[in-house]
Structure formats: C-alpha cells, structure tokens
C-alpha cells in the first residue's frame, strides 16, 4: 500500500517507518504544506501520516499548527477522504478539537516506537479493509 507521510523531519526520523516498509508499504515523503497540496499521491494513497506542525510555520487560521489547516484544505477543497493518522510531538488534546471535523483516524505521539506506529497503521488499514502485503508478526516481548 502507498502511505503518504507529511512531515518536515522525515530525513531525521525515517527509521520509524522501517517496519512498514518491511511489510511492503511504499512510503511517499512530503515535506511541506505546498508539496502536499501539489501532490497527486494524496489522491491515490491508502493512508496519510501527518504532523500538525509543518512549514511554513504560522498559519493565519491555526497558528502554530499549520498541519490542521492543511487537513482542512485536503478534506474540504481537494475532497481527499483518505484516512489520516496524526503523527506528531504535539499532545493530541491540543489539536483534537481543531481536527474533530476532518475525520482523523488515530493519533500517535512522537517519539514512538516503530512497532507502535505500525500497530496503529495496521489497525487503521484493517478497518478500511486495506491490510498490508504480508505483515511482520507482532513484536515479541523483550
């Protein structure tokens, strides 16, 4: 499955999606709000992972959390209804109300284990009827 990942820190934190890539998912990196708006991949991917703190930074509607403005535009103006998982260092309580209208499937707070992110992605994809190709077994206890 194609998973779009909207985050300006992808190069630094790329390793967190390794289990997803091992499962056969293709991760499409998108680094800015403008790139997201221009991207054709958002129309065809199975899932969107996104941070809510994105360049260009302050947004006139949502201040620091310009990712919330992006999600509004994706839903309302671009009619993209792909499930979204918010993957951010921000506490969900700070943004959940703003995002309530735009159908966020789940939240994962950074820093997250790759297995934690994979668990949430798998659950959301399963709920949508889109399981990964093969899938690695659930991480064992250490």
């Amino acid at each position: 499955m194609k998973i779009a990942w909207i985050d300006d820190d992808i190069e630094v934190i790329r390793s967190v999606v390794k289990p997803l890539e091992q499962d056969g998912h293709q991760i499409i990196p998108i680094r800015t709000v403008q790139q997201a708006l221009d991207s054709e991949d958002l129309h065809t991917c199975a899932l969107i992972l996104m941070d809510v703190i994105l360049p260009p930074g302050c947004d006139k509607d949502f201040g620091y959390y310009s990712g919330t403005s992006l999600l509004r535009m994706l839903r309302e103006e671009h009619k993209i209804m792909t499930p979204v998982i918010v993957f951010s260092v921000t506490d969900r309580s700070k943004v959940e109300e703003r995002l309530a209208s735009w159908n966020v499937a789940d939240y994962v707070r950074k820093p997250a284990l790759p297995s934690e992110l994979k668990e949430v992605v798998d659950a959301v994809l399963a709920a949508q009827g889109n399981s990964g190709d093969g899938g690695s077994p659930t991480p064992e206890l250490l």
Partner: protein, 427 residues
Amino acid sequence: MSTSWIPGHKAQLAILKAFAQFIKRAIGLFEPTNDDEIWETLPFEEFESYCRKIYEFSEGKRLCQKDHIERARRVMESGVEELTLCHAGVFNQALPIIVDGDVKAVLMYGQLWAVGNDCCAEARERHERTIARLRQTENDELELRVYYDEIKRFSANDLDTLNQQLSLLQHSYYEMLSEEQARIKQADGIIHELQIRLQPILAEAENLYYDLRRTSIECPAVESLSPVAKELLNSVLMLRTLVRNFGNFMPEDYQFKTCSVGGLIERAITVYGSEAKRKRVAISPQLEGLPKVELSRDHLQEAINNLVHNAIKYSFSGASDHYRYVEIDGEVVKSDYKLTFSNYGVGILPEELDRIFEPGYKGELTRKEYRSGAGMGLAIAKEIIERHQGTIEARSVKTDGDAYVNTFIVRLPLEQAKGEKYEDCMD
C-alpha cells in the same frame, strides 16, 4: 464562578478574600479566561443591603451581572481605570492590571457611594428608575430607599488609597505569574525539542534490536550485540517515560477507544524489563482471551506501568540459581476484564491496605526496606482506573520470614457505561 483558572491561583484567592473582608466590599476579577463570569470574593450575605435586595429580583440580578461584564470588557479594552455608576445608581471601581503593556485582568470592587462625585445626581436618578422597574410591593420600595441611603461612603482619598493597594497586589501577582509562565514555556520548549531528538534514537534502537534478533548471521559479534541492543532499547524507553512525565505528558482529556490490554502490558514489561532482569525477577504474563477493552490508551498505559513497576520494585531479588516471579494474570469475569498483578517481596500491613492509594503515602514496611519513589504511583493508577469506571484493590499476605505475597486486582469494564460519567470522560 469560573473554575478554569482556580488551580494555582489559590494564593491570589486568599489575598483578595482577605482584602474583601478588610474593606467589606465585594471584589471581583475578570480575566480573559473567565470571559463571561465575574468572580467575587465576599459572601453574598455581606453585600450591601441595597445590592442584596436588588438580587432578590431576577431582573435586577441579571442587570447587575450584565453591567459588571460590560464594565470589565470596556476597561479590558481601554486599559483605563473607571469609577462608574451601575444601573441601580451605585458606584463601582474597575482597575486594569497591566503587566508589560498587556491588560492581564480587570479588578473590580464597588457597592459604594463616592462622596462629592460629579455623578451623584445621576446616581439618584438611576436609583429612582430602579425602584420603578423592580418594585413589586410597597415594602420593596421602602427597603430599596432605606438601603440606598445606607450604602457605605468613600471619599476620593479613600478610593485612591484602596486603588493603589489593590493594584499593587494584583500587579505583583501577575508579574509573578508572567515569570512562571515564561519558565514553563521555556521548559515546554526544551521538552518539545527533547522529544523530537529522541524519535530517531528510539526508532533506531528498536530496529537494531529486531534486526539482530531476525538475522541469520551467526557470529560472536552478533551474539554479543543482541543483549546490548536490548539494553539500549530499554534505556531509551525509560528516557522517553522520564521526558514525558517531566513534561506533564498526560493529556487532560480521556479519549476512549477499543484497544487491546495485552499491548499495554507488553509495553510496561518492555519499559521495566531491565530493572527486572537486574533483580533476577521474571515477569510472567498469563492473559486469557485478550479482549478489546474500551480504554483511554495513554492514561491506562501509565496506570499499568505504575503497577508493573511497583511489582518489580517491591519484589525481593532472585538469586543466580532461582528467579523471583511477578505474575500478571488477565481474564474476563462477567462484563469486566480482571487483571491481577502479584509479587513476592516487601509487604503492606493490613491497616495500610486502604491508605496505600493515597497520594504520597508509603507503607511502613516500604520505608523500612527503603525503595525510591514519591509514593504517587498507586494514587495515579487508582485515579486512572476509576476514570475507566474500574476498581483496584490490594491484598498482602505474610508468608515466611519477612516476605509477603502482594496482589493488586484491577477490574475494568469491557465497555464504558454510556451515562453521565462516560460523557464526562469524553469531554
């Protein structure tokens, strides 16, 4: 009265209450956060009789509150002190509290008569209009007139002195608050940065661990790296817990979703696995069914972390030839999921079994044995479990020597009841 700002403002409340008692005037505070509410310190019984009388009429009370809010908003915007008349012909003072050029709040007091003020004639006119509007009986009119003439008199000097004292008090308070908020913001910034920097370390640590476990390469280097990778991962997980706790990670809102309890247990064991290993304590989870339970994941993870950590911490250490066990059992019992955490070690005296859930309380035997900690883990766990409409109880049975078998039993409803309490949790 707005409650959104009361925690942490207790000192301010105490000072203003004392001031209100001293000058025998109602003092109100209007802050941006408490928007439509004016917060008052003097008990209603101690209001001026005239104002108490007006409050008897719902129309009168409504006009008073509307008046206060309008005055407060006006001064909030203008930043200029006002001595004005209310709708009923009573003088009220509104003081802007300005720190670093910002109006932080408007402090108001009133129910007074300003002697020699230019507006005294207008005050009497408003008083007459109030009588006409509100009176329902002759007695009402009589009381309103009598009480009006009894309103306490303040000279211009009196008011100046009070204004200076109140302003100074509030100004100092808000300056202190601003400094505290700046420190919190700085700390928040550091926590934020730490969490971002921790992400690649955490991810790489887990990836390395699983890569080493799955590799088919057999060589001494790989064999020696595996335990190191595990230790590294556990340490980084501990660091994440510390950073999150330091930053008051716990969100205020409980978000209930159907999740697996097993995953939470696994993570708790992962976090404290190193400590268990050092003590030669084996953790043995036996979770039957593993149903999905409606829970607030982050909160319940915290509660389970605390219970697992306690079980390890207060377990006696094992030896080279035998391990101690911490057992974690789970089963469905009617409409609940029952989790049991058991260990063998430092016990709890019978008379303390209820007290150990009190914040800060550490049992007598724990003190004797000394284990580090603030005594908050069980209190936090209990609060979280009760917010899940669950229960927790403790048992501690003496066995041989100084050892006890301790058992913590947690019951969580499989589904949250859809009642008022459920909706509170969902706010």
